[in-house]
Structures are given as C-alpha cells and as structure tokens.
Amino acid sequence: MAAPKKTPDRHYDFTSMNKWFAWSSLALLLITVWMIFEDYAKPWKRFQAEFRELERQELAQEAEAERQRIDQDEIARIQAEIESEEARLDEQRSDLDELQDRLADLDDKVYEADVDARTTKSHLDTERFSYDVAQQTGDADKIAAASLAVDTRRATYQENRIALEAFTEQRAQVKAEIDRKMAGLSEDQAQLIALQGGLEALESRVADLGKGLDYFLLNAPVMDMLEPNLRIDQVQLTGLYQNINFTTVDRVDRCVTCHVAATRAGFDEEKWEEPFRSHPRLDLFVSSSSPHPYTQFGCTTCHGGLDRATDFARAGHSPESEEQKAEWKHEWGWEKQKYLDTPILPAKYSEAGCIGCHAGNVWTPSSTTQDTGRELIMRMGCYGCHKIDYPAYTDLPRSGPSLERVASKTNPAWAYKWIEAPRDFHPTTWMPHFFFQENIEGELNEERQRAEIRSVVAYIWDRSEEVSYPAPPRGSSDRGETLFDTVGCTGCHLRDDEANRDDYYPQFNRMHGPNLVRTGSKVDPGWLFAWIKDPKAYNPETRMPSLRLTDQEAADLVAYLMSSRDPAFENLTLPEVDGEVRDELVLTYLQGTQTIEQSRATLGSMDDTARDVYLGQQTITKYGCFGCHNVAGFEDVKPIGVELTEEGSKPIHQFDFGHIHDVPHTRQDWIKTKMLQPRIWDHGKETVKDYAELYRMPDFGMSDREAEAIVANVLGFTKESVVTARRADQTPGAAALANGRKLITRFNCQGCHLIEDIGQAIKTSITDPGLWPPNLAAEGARVQSDWLFEYLHDPGIESMRPWLNVRMPTFGFQDGDVNTVLSYFAAREGRDAFLSEPGRPDQRDLTVGQGVFAMLQCAKCHPAGPVDTSAGVSAAELAPSLLLARDRLRHDWVDDWIKDPLSFVTGTKMPVFFSQLDDGSYSSPLAQGIDLPMWRGEKDRMLRHFDSEAELKEYLADAEKVTAAMRDHIWWGLKRGS
C-alpha cells in the first residue's frame, strides 16, 4: 500500500477530507429534503386537499344546477334593457357629467363647511371655559371680554351651521337628480343581480377552491410557511384544562384540521364520510349559535382524545370493533396509545362526555343513551353498593322493598325460591341473581349456596316483625281488572309473564313497581288488601302511593291480583341443607376474628337456629343485600362495592382482566363485560381463590344495550375538573331542575304524566287520549304554587276532571319534596313560584267575559257542574272544570292560554279562537258573531255597559281586552257558590 500523499504543511489528507465533506453534505441535503417532504406530506394535508376538491366539485354541480334553473331569456331581456338604458344615458352624458361634477364640488363644500363648523364649535367650548375662569377671578373687565368672545364665536358657529346645512341640502338635491336619471338602470341591474347573484357567488367560490398556480405556490414546500390554504386549524380553550404529564395546561384542540366539515352545516348526507361530515345536531353542538360552540368547548372536552394531535394514529381514536381496528391498523398504522389516559370515546359512548359539565343535571338535554343509563342505575340500585358521588345518585332511598316486616307479607319458602333466581318468578325484575353463577359451580359450591340462601331467609325471618292481617272482603276479579287498567296501577306496574325488559327500552316506567304476575302465589291476601289501602302503614319509606281506594275497590283489586298464580311457587318447603357445609361456612366467618380453636368452641355453643341466623347475617354482609333493602340490624353498614365516582379515570392497568384474553383492554370493554358477565374475571381461578374471595357482583340479566347505556354513564364519572363557571349545573335554575328531575324519576311521575315530552307509559292500558293523565308541559306557567302545594299533599281534595277513572295518587310527600316540585316547574318556565292576588275588575269586563264565554260555547267542553256521562257526553272529550280556576290557575296564564294554547301544549284539544296575525297581534271573531240572532240576549246584557253599539263592537274586536275579560269571568265569575 502506497503511503498517503500529504501536503507538506497539513496533518491530514486534503482529498480524503473533501470526499468526507462531499458525502456528508449530500447526506445532510438528503436528510433535509426528506425532512421537508415528511413535513409537507402530513396526512392532515391530504384530508384538507381532498375535502377542498370534493367541496369544489359539489359547488360546481350546484352552480351547474343553478345555471340550468336561471331563465336565460329573462337575463338577455334585462341585459338588452340595460344596454338601451345606457344608450339613453349616453345621450344625456353632458348633463349627467355636469351633475356629477356638481356633486363632487358639493361634496368638497360640505366637507369644508363641516370642518369649519366643528372647529368653531371646539373654539366656542374653549371660550366658554375661559369665561368660567374669568368668573372665578371676579375681574369685571375680564368677564366682559370673555363674554364678548363667547358671543362672537357663537354667531360664527351659527353662520357655519347655516352654510353646512345649505350645502348638505344642495348635495341631496343633486344626488336625487342623478338617482332619478339613473333609476331605470339601477333597477335593471338589481334585477340582474337577483337573478344571477347566487350563481355568481357560487362560481366565485368554485374558482376560489380551484387549484391555480397560486394554490401550488402557496402550498409548496417551504413556501407553505407563509399563507397556505392547507394549514393546522386550532382553537385554544381558556378555562378548560388537560392534564399532561402532571401539568395542567389549557386545551388546544386541533381536531378540525382533519374533520374539516365538522363545524359546517350541509355535509350530513350519506355520501360524506368521515372526516368530511358535519357534526350531528349543529343546533346543539359546535355551531356558534349552539349552547356548545366549538370555539369555547372544542372537541376533546366532550369526546376525549389528544387535543393537540394532528395525526389519526396518535389522536386516540377508539375503534368500535375488531374489524375496524384491523382496518385502521392496516390503513393508518393505528395503534393503541398506551400513555393516553383519555382516548376518544367510541361513538356509542360519546354521551359520557356530557357528564363532566352536566353532573347535577340528571336529564342531560337530548342525550338519550346516557339518560337511559342514568335511569337504569337508579332503578337497578347500583348506588346501593357503589358510592357514586354525583347529586343524581346521592340521598336516594334504597331501591328495593323493605324487609323489616316481610314475614307478614309472604312465606320463607317463597323467599328462598325468589332469592335463588328472581327472574324465574318476575321476568322483568331489577333484583339480580346472586347465586348459581359461573364462578361458583360444582356440587360443593351448590351446597354452600343453598346453605347461604337458607340462612339469609332465616336471618330475615328471625328479625322480621310479623303482623297478621284479617282476610279481605269479597271482591270481584272482573271489576278489579277494569280498575287495574284504568285507575292508575299500570303507570308503574306490569302484569305480564311474557314481558321482557329489553322490549320496553328505553322507557322503564312500568317497571317502577314489581311485575304483578303470580302475585297470588307470593303474598298473603290480607296483607295485600292492607297494603294497597295504605302502603305507608306497612312501610313508611315506600314509594308506592295510595290511590285512596274504597274497601270495595281494594277488595276487587285484591281478587284480581290474587287470581294470577303459578303452582310452581305454591306449597313450597324450604330445602334441606347439609349441616356440615353450613358449619364449615360458619367456621370460616368465625375464624375471621377468632382463633381456630375458639371458633370451634363458639360453633359448639350455637344451636341450629343460631348457626343459621349467624350465617345469614354474614351472608347479607357478604352480598350487601342492605344496599337495596332495609334489613333490620344493617341500618348503618357501609356499602360493599367499589366507589365509582372516578371510575372513568381509573388507569386501564388497574382493571382486573384475569385470564380472559378476548376482551379488548379498554375501560369500556371491561365495564360492559362486567355488566353482562359479572363473575367472568374469576375464570380459571375458581379453585385457587377461597369461596369467600370470589367475585360477588350479581347478574342483572342486562341486555347489550342496557349494559352500554350504563357504560355511557360510568365512563363519564371522571376526575376531569371542569371549571365551575363552565359547568351546566351551575347555571341559575339548574339545581331546581336537577332536583326536580331526580324526584320525578324517583316517584315515576312519567309513568302517568308527560313531562318534558317523555312519559305517559300508562297509555298502553288507557287507549283513549282524552282519558290520559295530563301533559304537564307549561305546568309552572299554568297553576298557582299554593294550589299545587295543597294538591300534591292531598290530591283527593278536589279534582279537575272528576269524570275520569284514573286518579292522581297520594304520595305522602314531605314539604321538601313538594317544594322541589314547585321550584322545578317554576324553573322550567322561568317564572317566580309565587304571585300576588290581582285586583277585582269592573262589572263591565265581567259581563263581557260572561257573554263571550257563552258565545264561544266554552261550557261545551269545560263543564260547570257534575257531568252525566250516560247522556251521550263522552268523558274523553271533556276539558278540566273551570270552577277551580281561581284556586288553581295563575291569573296571567288564563288569557295567555286562551290566546295561544298550541304554543304551550302540542296537540291540545283547546282550539284557537283568536288567530295570531302577522304583526303578532290577535284578531277577534266576536264582533262578527254578536249580531247573530242566537246571541241577542248576550248582546243586550253587554250593551247595558256601553254607550253605543259601536263602542261594544270596538271592545269585542280587541282580542287583548276580550281575552282579559274572559279571564276575569273565569277567575271571578265562575267561583263555586257565586
């Protein structure tokens, strides 16, 4: 090898260094190009460019359609007119030019005069100030001089103003003259714009979206740092925070960089695919006029995901299915973001995002799945075992019936069979299955469970008060059936062996109380009679209200309910239990606090009953029965389940997936699987874990969508802190609404009433709409709080529609509950709960009101006395009695309602007599009717209060006066006894 040639004065070889330099420069260049290209070829740019092109094509089509639509002949005609008009103007060009010159000249003059006037005015103000200063000095000369200066200046100002006004007037005249000459042309041009304007606008937008040279230049690599068409679109959300690596930072949402059409209307047809679709319900979300504008809430606040991401794979998108996951992986290189705690909620759970701000508002407006889930959580009583620290789930009574006196109601053998498998008896029950689940199979375990169930029954009967009831009076099952279907029972109860909870989804009002099938095989008839007559006597905390049944009605209902029987649940005996197995369980519990030897001694000292009762107490503790039932001895025991208040933020590694490998490792999949198969995570561990350590969560027999509805809530129970000012439940009235809605669900008001357009479940058994319990829309505007207070306490006092069979039950509300209802209705209508009594009107108004009441034949529907429904009048067609109006209705409501009933209650039978005109005022038909011979008597009576017929007619033609007079008559004139 030849020695390297070195330049004498260098320590290194120049040639080789140049080579190194050349190669590394080239590498650097390539890397730079590569870097620029990578940056340039970001996927979001592709989306934007693609959408731009799609939109251009769409607009081009619209423009083409518009072109087809426009009448070309008409355009040609107008253009010809414009030309002739222009020709005509050309002839008068010199006149016009002169006018234009004069206008320009006058413009200058007006400007100058205006400047002069303003300047003089400011000088005048200065001199007035100088005058004040002179006054202070008290020097008479100075005062006189200053006063003179003010006067002189004022005179100048006056002259200036006169000049300005004169020039302004002249200018207006010249302008009018020009306009007059040009009028024909302007009109034609306006017509042309009206015809073509839409098309031109479209064409200009199509051109804007085209890809000309400017587009390529602006979006070229490097150049795109200036003013590109394709750019990251972001919004900074002040006051909404995101926790990134233990630091709380403002959210910065960039989602619309790819979801280009999300904030825009009109991209909701089938053909638009994500990310090019409009957000659904722009009236509610995202648009600037909605309650959740994009600029204030962004996207990730509700949906989750990484706010700053501009890359599909990194934004935290959650696939809906395994197929979608595979597709995403293939197409976008999607993979699960391990370090992102809040991935985007899958679409079916996106309503969970509402909870952060609407926590107190248990009926989130327009969120359906989540509302259903919230109702399910309340009905299933999840909060009994799992603390959920949201207002919707706190301070609620236990969801199941009290067991403190159950011995009076049924027998131990039935109770055993019930606990064993509740759904075998009531297919729709909310009571879950605790026993014979997948993780406690095998002969020994079955024997253990029998011992447990028997011991629970033993404990409950041991502690239960037993009252014996006399046999009920004889009743008729047929009459009972009619009563059951019409008096109101069906608002809360089913009596249907075929019923399936899922068929009723999402309206569970008729599952508020138990399904009454097989009642005859469950309860003692004497108890049933006493119970339906007065539920609170048996259990003061019960939600079951009293329907104020007579003895005969109650006896008929008992006869009907007891007629539903099932031999499989009658003449039962308690199964025999293996004493050894029971004793082994007792020992296990005893050993929790005692030594093995002590426990054996304790066991030996207990007799059979004591062992059963002891095991029963331990079993109730183990399964947490007291979470849903009042059980004697368990009044203050803490719930047994995991707290769920922040379950939606629990890190995924804290979920126990056991040995199950086919459930995706996401929060939603874990929770949903848990709902559907609560014991699944014990799979493969059954023999290793002690019997007492196995999962205990019971099986509620949920359908897929029930489980998903619950998941859509639990995912929303997060740590995410939303600043108070941004929370929906902090708005005025929100607490009143939230408390009211909670109470409405608790007492199942919607079983009978339509409230916020939901409810009236009872209509399945009462088919005639005229016989339904009322729609409570606008109730807060309609009735007086004082009246409603009395009525809710005792609905038996008087009835608006005494001819109806269905009855408003007596709930035995506390004052606090009633006030919650009053505040809720008032908040719904944005009104004060209380009003002052109005002053008495004069006799003239009362007489007119009475006459008009007769002429409009109000009494045809609103009876003023007892109704004989046998005389061809159908009860279903009658409207509430107005005799109660003064006690019941709000004074200001009556005439508002008469004027426009449909605006308060959709579908109401109350007709409009005073049609609203375009200007918002109301017309009156009465001046037209007053001359009919049949109303002569009314006319004569009214005329006594008027000087002339014309004056009466003027009064009658005024809808405001007439409706006020009707109100006064209804309010003052129809009072009972007057």
């Binding site: 479209l202 200009s204 000309g212 002429m855 045809k860 009048v873 009919l932």
Partner: protein, 252 residues
Amino acid sequence: MNKYRFLTFCLLAVSLLGIACGGGGDEAAAPTAAAAPAAATGSGAITGVINYANGDPDTAIGMDADPVCVGLHAEGAVTEQVVGDEGRLGNVFVYIKSGLSGSFPASADKVVLDQQGCMYNPHVSGVQVGQPVVIRNSDPTLHNVHALPTANAEFNKGQPFQNMEFEHKFDTAEVMVRFKCDVHPWMNSYMGVVSHPFFAVSGTDGSYSIENVPAGTYTVEAWHETLGTQTMEVTVADDAAAAASFDFASAG
C-alpha cells in the same frame, strides 16, 4: 448577498400573492332557492274504479252530546268511511305518488272544507301544496278544526259562529292530513296534500278520473281511511286514458 435579496423578494412576492388570493372562500352567499320552471300538464288521463268486496256498511253516529247536531239530522247520520254503491268504494283518494318530474304551480282555486250538519264535507279531499283551503262552519254551533298533520304545522281553530271561515295553505306534501273536531268526536275528514294537480277522490260509484296527465310511467296510490293503501304502475300515453282500478276488501 444578491441571492438572499432575491430569495427575500421571492418570499415577499409570494406572501403578497397569498394575501391577495387567500381568504374569501367562506363568506360567499349560499345560492338562493327558487321553484323550478313549471312543468307542463299533458293530455293523458288515469281513470278507474275502486271495487270493494264483502264490504261492511257504515255505522250510525250518535250525536246526543250536542242537541244542535241532533236537530240537524232528522234521519240520523252514518259514518262516511265506506260510502259506495254495491261492490264499489267511494272516498278513496287516488294520486300519482311518484314518476312526475318538474314542478306544478299551485292552483288558485279554493278547496272548501265545510262543517255541515256536524259532519265534515267532503269527508275525503285533495289539495295542492300552496293551494288555498277554505274551512267553513255552516252550523249554528261551535266546531273546532283540529288538523293533525305530521309534516305540516298542526293547527286547531275554533269556529263558534255560523258561516265563519278561514283560509289555510299547506307547505309540504302529506298524504293524508287528518282533521278532527274535539267538540264532536265523530267528526273526521282527510285531506291529501300533494305537490301536483294529479289526484282524485272516488265517487259513490267507485269511479275516479285524473285528467291532463303528461305521458309517462307513474306509481299511482289509492288510499282509504280504514282499508289502507294500494299502489300500481300506470303508463299514460298522450290523448288516452290509462286504466287503473283497485280492489279493496274488508279485513273481516
């Protein structure tokens, strides 16, 4: 140095261009909607007969609830659901359901819906979108006209006096809009609101005729209050009447 100056110039030029050309994309006005040019009517027709097998007769109406109504019917009144001669069915609304193109200006002729003898007259009728409907009360008693549409706006107007009337126009096609009177629960009427003039109601002899139909192939639907709907493909030629008869049978 010159190179840098050139580059700066370029950037400046491009940015100016960008400012000049950028923007302006979003605020352009949406195109104004307007009716398409009126399509011409034709010279064809669709005619037919509505047959009715094993028909149930109409039943009597008890009007006891309002003595005025009783007084207006010396011989009693019957429901008008299945009016028709033997084997024929009246009060069937027949119209072109689909196959038409273009739009048809609404007729200015007024369609009258009268309340006469505590019955709606006619019991079944048709109207074009935008065509005026005059609703009249010819009885000396209170009626209320409660329209229960699903696509159009609901209305419910009381007419307490004899010979009162008001005019209404429907905005949207809807077959059928039901009218009821809440004071007299037996009163019912049905109005087919369609976007063209090609509809008819069968007479008591079961026959109907839709005139001035442009040549083409259409889906024709026949609607009856209790017996449901039937459809048929019909091809219409110029200057000829295409036949489209329907057979209804009662469920019993």
